[in-house]
Amino acid sequence: MFPFAPYVVKSLWRHRARTILTVSGTAVALLVFCFIGSVQKGLLALTEDQEAGRTLIVFQENRFCPQSSKLPQDYASTIAKLPGVTDVVPIKVFTNNCRASLDSIVFQGLPAEKLKQWRELSLQSGDWGSFEGQDDAALVGQAVAGRRNLAAGDKFTIGDVSVVVKGIFASSVAAEDNLVFTHLDFLQRTRGVNEAGTVTQLEVHLADNADPEAVAAKIDAEFHSGPVATTTRTKGMFQADTVSDLAELIGFVHWLGYACVGLVLSLVATTTVMAVQDRIKEHAVLQTLGVRPLGVFRLVIAESLLLTVIGGVLGVVGSMAFLYSTGLSVAAEGVTIAFRPSWDLAGQGILIAFVVGLIAGLAPGWQAAQSQIVAALRHG
């Protein structure tokens, strides 16, 4: 065991204001780092998972916001006959906000049997039967339910859409935890308009041997001269295109994550340099008593590590607790990017805190270890 542990802890506590400020600065930086990391993971999951590459989304040509895409629902039966297609799911989408927002509510109306077949939902409360049996019933994703404090049996209204919560679900796809599923025909007829027969998008499921790009081209060619032309992309590409502005922003924010790491490095290095300069004589006394130069180096590194690891753990735990409890997501044009906290990310955050602590302590540790004892004893 490290015999100087009490000395290291007490030395940090001696300058508690400085220590607390450094630890909190580290914690905030790691908190931001984890937020950025989790939204990046959410974006990655949206565009790169296997299902995203094997499912096609048919959307109205040159339309972006789900409110403006209106495809004839009977396109589904035409598409279903194309080679390589195993099923087509008509989906009506309604969102209260087409712009990028942290509190968008996205409704997706699907035929109940298709919802059951193609979405891996696990009901946390409520029951499937009562959803199927009621026209204005809704299954609410756990993240939305958490944010809006909803429970089975509640009635809520967003925009002109009023639904009764018949179940709260958890999905295997994190982004779906931010959706509200309703019956297709309910969403087509609500808000005082009759959009029966039109859908926002068609979700096309492919056979294992089908070439997604070839099928997409066939679908667009089929309707090229029809009443509504289509644009068909893989689900991943569709989502990436839809949130492209947001993705660009998230890509930029990625650099802010690195900036946070740099900030911690300079913050902790400054604190450690100050601590070493304050204790030049004390380190000389320790060396006089027989602590090796390497031992002094280790003491300084230990202090620096303790600062970053405590700050890192606080920041990581804080961010994970917040992200898990709020189910935060950001949505644009009906596509949601769920913040995805994970053990991986937590481990990465703590590892970064550790490495930064190590690096921040190197120069001051070396300086402390190299000092001449006699000269240092005359100091201050």
Binding site: F4, K10, R14, Q287, L289, G290, R292, P293, I373, L377
Partner: protein, 236 residues
């Protein structure tokens, strides 16, 4: 063989373009159980000589042999290990670690040595009893008087039962009454515990408490306090 042999030691350092030589070819020996005072005016080289014998400064030339180890040939790391096992250092301003209690300060040299926790506890208790400070074991330096701090410093210096205890002006920052107590305590360390003591002082009264007086002037030995020089010993 003597406990400490200082053989033709010179110490130089550069100050700009000028070379300062605080010690110039000093040779002396210190025997086991000695209580020697190292005296001289400011700048005579007495503290430099003490620091060289304590292994916290490096000679420019010459040899210092302590208990058969030529410490001038040791690397910095080995020298630190050697100090931990062989040197008890009493500072003028006691230099206790402010965040540690009296007990923890005294225990500090022992955590560097291979020793069980029980053995450490026992030794710290004995050292604190020797300086009559068991009741202050849990006190921090800021909660003690200057004299008490210096006694903790002495306990810290003797706790590991070192080969030699060196003291650099141990009463330099104390009042007369406390100086008397500390000198008495150092005398007991030498007589009752049998420890070899080398004390730098510029105070003639303090110096007279030692069994032997060594005097330096401008980096040279002018009074050895004994008849036989180390060169005589070597050639005999």
């Amino acid at each position: 063989m003597s406990l400490v042999e200082v053989i033709n030691v010179t110490k130089e350092y550069a100050n700009g373009e000028e070379t300062i030589r605080p010690l110039d070819g000093v040779s002396l020996t210190i025997e086991q159980g000695d209580f020697a005072s190292l005296m001289g005016a400011s700048g005579s080289g007495k503290s430099t000589l003490l620091n060289l014998i304590a292994g916290i400064d490096l000679v420019t030339s010459g040899e210092i042999i302590v208990a058969d180890t030529d410490i001038t040939r040791l690397s910095r790391g080995k020298l630190a290990d050697w100090r931990a096992a062989n040197i008890g250092y009493i500072f003028q301003t006691h230099n206790l670690i402010p965040v540690l209690t009296a007990y923890e300060n005294v225990e500090l040299p022992l955590v560097l040595l291979p020793m069980t926790a029980a053995e450490r506890r026992k030794r710290v208790q004995i050292a604190l009893e020797a300086v009559d400070l068991t009741s202050r074991a849990t006190h921090y330096p800021r909660q003690m008087s200057g004299g008490q701090e210096q006694r903790v410093g002495i306990a810290r210096a003797i706790v590991a039962n070192p080969t030699i205890v060196v003291a650099d002006e141990p009463t330099g920052s104390l009042d007369d009454e406390t100086t008397e107590q500390i000198l008495e305590l150092l005398g007991r360390v030498n007589q009752e515990l049998g420890m070899t003591l080398l004390m730098v002082t510029h105070d003639a009264d303090a110096g007279s408490r030692a069994k032997r007086r060594i005097r330096l002037e401008r980096g040279r030995l002018i009074e050895n306090g004994q008849e036989t020089s180390v060169h005589t010993l070597r050639t005999a």
